[in-house]
């Protein structure tokens, strides 16, 4: 079919209206031809002979009458080996390649190949002629870093296919044919190692979705022990500016125990991405001995890059995540910030003159947010393996007030709420997740009752703290004062974690369970401290010992020694330890 063409009849911001006759479809990609530049755009609404398109580039200088070429394709990304370690913009343009070809600035109307088509991959077949396969099933694999990258039957193929031919083990490029299959009617199809998938459609080439229950170990104590995230689950991190959302996501992207991390820097500062770009290739992944970059893909559409591409970037990211999940891997996707994505939708909606909802966000904001998080999940694949895609998004609420549409819509659909607090950030209590307001629907790997008791202690301690502001220490009973000190103790030695200390930055599951038991022992002990000065002194000392303990590696001989000092101090100050 000959591609459709049209002509521009209106321009307003990044919205262009185009008159067109032939068959066009919603979310189809079109190119505006401006000299040798091809400006990518997407149909977002169709009227009578008119396509409304959001342009992924600056519209400066466009004229009425400019030619538009429709592609017949939905907005899609290329899938295949070699995605890992890449840094893409929101439309899967490789940024380092663009930099090499065009220097400091992002050129307009240039599209580069997302994957290297000349690189050879060592293919090992896992099917033979005569095997019957369906979409998503593996035909073989190539090594990509430490992973066996599965070469799968393209996800858009419907029905069963019989393998007629498969390439011998050997080196191939992603465009070489590695298998031939025929469908039920006998029609032959060539399959290579790479294919495209439309980003706004979920990849569902698996057997079934299962309910996520296994904890995803993030190595952040306050998360894993108090507000856990499940593999295949969802969480959100709302917080006012400067509360620590981005730093927390960076910590998670380093320490989370997953196979693959996808970072979507969506409408935020370019400088923050640079830290990842420059540091990840230098940092070792303790699980694999390779660099962190080897398990990472960065989608980077920062705040000054075109806003329509920002809208697309989260879909690009989630599609790549779903792709690796299809291989039986655990993938963690983090988007910073989903509010910028929502704002991109708002800008577009305004240009389309849709009836606005609250704070001018479109009425479909909630369903879009829900759809996005719905693409997470734990799935059982056709071969029985299990893969997961966990999604975490930061939210940047206007005025830091969580009663706004994006935060509220997100809270309705996520499984864990890690709310950051301005007060905690100002007091440098990091990570600044609010321990009394946050919640999680997923199970933790420590005892539920113990966690509940610890939270209760925190609540009561905080109540006493509030009271003390009014009545002073003098007006507070010894028992209450001890409660207060215990709450503070739990906060400073367990909830807070030093991201800049090699050891403390990431706390393993074993370690968390071990340390939490010790913390609990302190919380439950009725200390013989009838003098407030003495009580404060004791808890200061205990806190110092614990914090130092946090800085000692578990396999270090010092670890046990420090534990003994803690034990000794507790015993010295408790009369009847187990009686509380």
């Amino acid at each position: 079919m000959k591609p459709n063409t049209g002509k521009i009849i209106g321009v307003s911001g990044n919205m262009v209206t185009v008159s067109v006759d032939g068959n066009i479809m919603q979310n189809e990609v079109a190119y505006i031809i401006k000299g040798d530049q091809r400006l990518k755009s997407e149909i977002v609404r169709i009227g009578d002979g008119v396509a409304f398109m959001q342009v992924f580039e600056s519209t400066k200088g466009l004229n009425i009458g400019d030619d538009v070429e429709f592609s017949g394709q939905l907005l899609s990304v290329q899938l295949g080996p070699g995605l890992l370690t890449h840094i893409y913009d929101g439309l899967q343009n490789p940024l380092p390649d663009l930099a090499e070809a065009h220097g400091f600035f992002l050129p307009r109307g240039v599209e580069l190949k997302p994957l290297d088509e000349t690189a050879k991959w060592k293919f090992t077949p896992s099917v033979k002629a005569g095997d019957v396969v369906v979409a998503g099933q593996s035909l073989g694999f190539v090594p990509e870093g430490i992973f066996e990258h599965q070469i799968m039957v393209p996800f858009d193929l419907r029905g069963e296919f019989t393998v007629t031919e498969v390439a011998k083990a050997g080196d191939y490029t992603i465009t070489d044919t590695i298998a031939q299959v025929k469908d039920e009617k006998g029609k032959s199809l060539n399959i290579s190692m790479s294919f495209r998938w439309p980003v706004k459609l979920a990849i569902e080439a698996y057997k079934e979705k299962i309910v996520p229950v296994d904890p995803l170990v993030t190595q952040a104590r306050i998360i894993d022990t108090f507000f856990p995230v499940a593999k295949g689950g969802t969480f959100c991190i709302p917080g006012p500016f400067g509360a620590g959302k981005t730093v927390l996501q960076h910590i998670l992207s380093r320490y989370a125990q997953v196979d693959i991390v996808i970072v979507a820097a969506c409408g935020e500062r370019a400088g923050e991405v640079v830290e990842l770009l420059r540091e990840f290739p230098e940092l070792e992944d303790p699980r694999t001995g390779k660099t962190l970059m080897d398990r990472t893909i960065i989608i980077c559409n920062t705040s000054s890059m075109p806003v329509a591409a920002r809208e697309a970037s989260v879909y690009t990211a989630v599609t790549l995540g779903e792709y690796y999940r299809q291989m039986g891997l655990d993938v963690l996707l983090m988007a910073d910030s989903t509010s910028r994505w929502a704002q991109a939708m708002r800008e577009l909606s305004g240009r389309l003159e849709e009836i606005p909802g609250e704070e001018a966000f479109p009425a479909y904001l909630e369903s879009r947010i829900a759809e996005f998080y719905e693409r997470s999940g734990l799935v059982e694949l056709h071969d029985g393996k299990v893969g997961s895609l966990t999604i975490g998004g930061t939210v940047s609420p206007a005025g830091g007030n969580f009663e706004e549409p994006v935060t509220q819509a997100t809270l309705k659909v996520v499984g864990a709420f890690l709310g950051l607090s301005r007060d905690r950030a100002n007091a440098r209590r990091f990570p600044s997740i609010h321990p009394l307001e946050s919640w999680s629907k997923y199970p933790t790997f420590v005892d539920d009752n113990e966690v509940a008791a610890a939270r209760d202690m925190l609540q009561r301690g905080s109540d006493v703290g509030q009271m003390m502001m009014v009545v002073g220490e003098e007006g507070t009973s010894h028992e209450d004062f001890q409660l207060y000190l215990k709450g503070e103790f739990l906060d400073s030695v367990f909830l807070q974690q030093n991201a800049f200390d090699k050891v403390d930055a990431g706390s393993s599951k074993d370690r968390q369970q071990y340390v939490f038991a010790m913390v609990n022992r302190v919380l439950k002990t009725n200390f013989q401290l009838d003098d407030k000065e003495k009580a404060r002194g004791f808890f200061n000392q205990l806190r110092q010992l614990f914090i130092d303990w946090n800085y000692i590696a578990m396999d270090d001989a010092e670890f046990k020694a420090q534990e003994n000092s803690i034990d000794k101090l507790i015993k010295e100050n408790s009369g009847n330890e187990e009686s509380l």
Partner: protein, 435 residues
């Protein structure tokens, strides 16, 4: 020769509409009215209807005035001869100097490829201890001063401009009061910095639409100089006026407002400007310091709020002091480590702030009538010293001297153990005349 039109179909707010063909989006036009000439920019194309925002405002524009399209988008002069000169928001000289047309450059050009950025690592010394020690300014940083009217934010800006170690200064005035503008000029003149400065000045009595161009003009010129190897400091005051001007246009264009009348793209618009801050590898840099006044002293107001989400920290100017708590330079840790600064820098920064926080608590207790212990007395003394010798904005000393002064203040108020400083640093830096 470009087409000339003599029929304006509608005038609404500062936006006019004409019927025209072959006009590019964001193209400029020149409108000749009985008041003179003004630039206008295309903000919407709808078939053969072209909407333009008129820089000088639409007041006095008549339907038969001449509209001549220029065939290019907004441009600005770029040349070394701009140094020491003052331009208006349309890019024309507002001093008595000659028109410059050496080289015209595009404004609001494309963004820098993130893959080309580098991790910032050079400190900009300002000789203001509250900045240099506690929240160091870093080359390529974008940082606003959050303040309210009446605070000396423009004085602070002028002082930083004068003392910062940069090659040149570009001052963008947006709705600036005339006397403030004159003050800037005389401060830079007296400090001998005028010859390395360029002004783009839109005062409160100048057309509002022109103020919208000021950040773009300033940053476009800054970018050119930076690519040529210059470290450029761009000062923008007041960005709240900029946001308000955008609000006005948005309302005229009947855009649905998102929050208190501001357009839904306020964040993207502000970010497009602030993100111009950059350190070009192998060339120069742009650092952006802006003033953002907070209507009603409310940091959750859309302008400071969106700004905070974009910039790399903020300085709060309160009661004439840079507030040590709310203020934050998010890039400071890149430069205050022992490699790029003195090795006691971080210790002094953390230690003095912690003690100051304790002083604030003590001050609260005192005002509530609680008994003051001897430790409290020490803190009270410390608080006073810290305010008068560090926070006071008239203090003007280099970083090293400020660090020495920090030790002296500590020694005047506390024993060395009470400061909880590491022994190694105490041995090296504790003043011999201290306790």
């Amino acid at each position: 020769m470009r087409k000339v039109y003599n029929k304006i179909l509608s005038i609404s707010g500062n936006v006019i509409t004409v019927k025209a063909s072959d006009v590019g989006y964001e193209e400029l036009a020149e409108i000749t009215t009985h008041r003179g000439k003004s630039l206008a920019q295309v903000i919407k194309l709808d078939g053969d209807l072209v909407s333009l925002q008129v820089f000088a405002g639409s007041r006095g524009v008549s339907v038969s005035d001449e509209v001549r399209f220029l065939g290019h988008p907004m441009q600005v002069t770029y040349s070394d001869n701009m140094l020491g000169r003052i331009f208006d928001g349309a890019g024309n000289p507002r001093d008595k100097g000659p028109q410059l047309a050496d080289e015209m450059i595009e404004v609001a050009g494309p963004s820098v490829n993130p893959a080309k950025r580098i991790i910032p690592k050079r400190m900009i010394r300002t000789n203001i201890p509250m900045i240099d020690i506690f929240n160091s300014l870093v080359v390529s940083q974008k940082l606003p001063i959050f303040s309210i009217s009446g605070e000396p934010y423009n004085e602070l800006l002028a002082r930083i401009a004068l003392q910062a170690e940069v090659d040149m200064i570009i001052l963008g005035g947006i709705g600036l009061k005339y006397d403030e503008y004159m003050k800037f000029k005389s401060v830079l003149e007296e400090g001998g910095a005028l010859s390395r400065s360029i002004f783009f000045m839109n005062t409160a009595s100048d057309p509002i639409v022109e103020s919208l161009m000021v950040p773009d003009l300033s940053l476009a010129v800054a970018e050119k100089f930076a690519l040529k190897g210059k470290d450029v400091l761009v000062l923008l005051t007041d960005m709240t006026n900029f946001a308000d001007a955008m609000k006005e246009i948005a309302i005229t264009m009947e855009q649905v407002p998102s929050n208190r009348g501001y357009p839904g793209d306020l964040y993207s618009q502000l970010a497009a400007r602030y993100e111009k801050a950059v350190d070009f590898e192998g060339a120069g840099s742009i650092t952006v310091l802006a003033v953002t006044t907070m209507p009603g002293d409310d940091v959750t107001h859309p302008v400071p709020d969106n700004t905070g989400y974009i910039t790399e920290g903020q300085f709060y100017l309160h009661h004439g002091y840079i507030d040590p708590f709310g203020s934050l330079s998010r890039l400071k840790q890149q430069v205050n480590g022992s490699d790029s600064s003195r090795k006691d820098h971080r210790a002094i920064m953390d230690g003095m702030i912690q003690l100051y926080a304790q002083y604030i608590e003590t001050e609260e207790k005192r005002s509530m009538g609680f008994r003051m212990s001897s430790w409290d007395q020490k803190l009270l003394k410390y608080g006073q010293h810290f305010k008068s010798q560090m926070m006071n904005l008239t203090v003007n000393i280099p970083l090293e001297e400020a660090l020495d002064r920090g030790w002296q203040i500590l020694a005047d108020c506390f024993t060395s153990e009470e400061t909880r400083m590491r022994t190694e640093l105490i041995n090296e830096f504790w003043p011999t005349n201290g306790k």
